[in-house]
């Protein structure tokens, strides 16, 4: 279990992460969503001990994460920047390095993944394409078999088939070696089926944390004549609205009770589900 208490991160005058209390029980796959600059990378970096909290604590099974080998050897954060080795190192050397530094590293599995992603072992890190570098990060991240494995947009630059391979391997290895996984992503539609829970960050705060399947029921769109819709949504949580001529569509947050459903039927209003991505857009301030 990873626990933060009053965790706060500041860069000079700007607060990247406002005080955050979070418990993430082990053995689940969490999605971390948020717009650019919402604090995703800051949060993951701090959870991994890459960065020291400005205030508050992060512990992993009770052990402080910052600079304590009992915790850090069990944590792996893969970022999109290829920071796994020197640019002049070959992939083979970096894998050998990881095997020396990581207690649980599985070199056989790493080799298997290298083949699957068709990565050239003798090439150096700096000569890889963006997508290849991301794929290599995923190889290291999965083969590290860390109890807490985090991918911070580790799929950047990967084409659709490679991403699919990533998702397949992630699930396959997660089932064989259960662990806690955090994935930060903008690919909501594509990756949300992988998650059990989502954390939505917005402007350095945790906006929402929920089972992703529950979240899929949380949005309702109401469509009908403007005046009727306005009446109907009075007192409900309105996330956004659009108008086309006399017709209005309003996106509501929170499941509708039976009374409202009956009412909607009587007034001839159309109720519809809201896709996760759309809900996310509305929750984080709309498409501004």
């Amino acid at each position: 279990m990873i626990t933060t208490s009053a965790l706060q991160v500041r860069y000079g005058d700007t607060t990247a992460l406002h005080p955050l209390d979070l418990d993430l029980p082990a053995g689940r796959i969490y999605g971390v969503l948020g717009r650019n600059g919402a604090g995703k990378t800051t949060l993951l970096s701090t959870l991994a001990g890459f960065r020291k909290p400005s205030a508050g604590t992060v512990t992993f099974d009770g052990v402080p994460v910052f600079d304590d080998a009992r915790a850090t050897t069990r944590i792996c954060l893969i970022r999109d920047d290829g920071g796994l080795g020197d640019g002049t190192d070959t992939l083979r050397d970096i894998l050998a390095l990881a095997a020396m530094l990581r207690p649980g590293f599985d070199s056989v599995y790493a080799t298997e993944l290298m083949d699957r992603f068709a990565l050239p072992r003798k090439r150096t890190l700096r000569t890889l394409s963006r997508g290849q570098r991301s794929a290599f990060g995923i190889v290291v991240g999965l083969a590290s078999r860390a109890d807490l494995t985090m991918f911070d947009e580790a799929h950047l630059g990967m084409d659709a088939p490679s991403r699919q391979l990533f998702h397949d391997e992630l699930l396959r290895d997660y089932v064989r070696h259960p662990r806690t996984v955090l994935l930060s992503t903008h690919l909501i539609e594509e990756q949300s089926p992988l998650f059990e829970q989502v954390l939505i960050l917005h402007q350095g705060r945790l906006l929402l944390r929920e089972d992703v399947d529950d979240l899929r029921t949380r949005g309702v769109s109401v469509t009908g004549p403007q005046a009727v819709v306005d009446d109907f949504v009075f007192g409900l949580t309105v996330l956004g609205e659009r108008q086309l001529g006399p017709t209005k569509e309003v996106t509501l947050f929170g499941a509708l009770d039976e009374e409202h459903r009956t009412l909607a039927r009587r007034y001839g209003l159309q109720l519809g589900p809201v896709a996760l991505q759309e809900l996310f857009i509305h929750l984080t301030g709309g498409a501004a």
Binding site: D67, T72, D81, G83, D86, L97, R133
Partner: protein, 230 residues
């Protein structure tokens, strides 16, 4: 899992590379040497002239410590582990390279004698051509100081970015007085009247310890940067 992973990695990969690199450099010099003979008779010790390059290479290599630290942390190791295993590696490296250079001095002496060349060292050297113990200690001290200095300057720039400039002050002092002490480079204002291997070793221990203290100050709570991806 085996212990001291960072140290094991550095010794098995980096040290091997450094030794091969330096040995290769010496061999290359040996091949180039006869070319000079075409123009002028040889009177100077080649290794004594060329050996100085090593210190700048050592400082430059030490400068890469920050990148190395970032890599270690990315693979789940701690700054604490790095801060003691890396200096141990530097020490071993200094001993091995100083030994290598001393061996080259000895081999060169033999070569010159066979060829009938005269062999002078540079004036400011504190050791004589045949004093292999003092040659070893001088190289050891200067290499250790250069490696430690490079490392804390590199990590200071990583940690404080522009503010790392301040680290250049202690760095310059360490290099100037280290150079004066070992006789590898002398500046008019930096002179040390130190003689004998034991005193030199004692001063080096203090200097290197200061370098490592500064290294620790730079890395103890440093945040990993997000490297700008190309």
């Amino acid at each position: 899992m085996s212990r001291w992973p960072i140290l094991r990695y550095l010794l098995s990969q980096h040290l091997v590379f450094l030794v091969l690199f330096v040995a290769g450099g010496c061999l290359l010099a040996l091949l180039v040497l006869p070319v000079f003979l075409l123009f002028t008779p040889i009177t100077m010790s080649a290794v004594d002239v060329g050996g100085q390059v090593l210190f700048w290479l050592a400082a430059g290599y030490g400068y890469g410590a920050a990148g190395l630290l970032a890599t270690m942390v990315s693979h789940g190791r701690t700054r604490r582990e790095f801060a003691w295993q890396y200096p141990v590696f530097q020490l071993v490296t200094a001993v091995v390279l100083a030994g290598l250079l001393t061996g080259v001095y000895a081999a060169e002496a033999l070569l010159y004698r066979l060829a009938g060349w005269t062999r002078h060292l540079q004036d400011q050297r504190i050791f004589d051509a045949g004093d292999h113990l003092l040659i070893f200690v001088s190289y050891l001290c200067m290499l250790a100081i250069c490696l430690a200095t490079g490392a804390f300057v590199g990590t200071a720039f990583y940690r404080w970015e522009g503010g790392g400039v301040l680290a250049l002050l202690p760095a310059a002092a360490l290099l100037a007085y280290g150079g004066a002490m070992t006789g590898f480079f002398t500046l008019p204002f930096a002179r040390l009247a130190i003689s004998g291997a034991p005193t030199m070793l004692a001063v080096t221990v203090a200097a290197v310890a200061a370098g490592w203290a500064l290294l620790w100050a730079s890395v103890r709570d440093v945040s990993l940067r997000t490297r700008v991806a190309a």
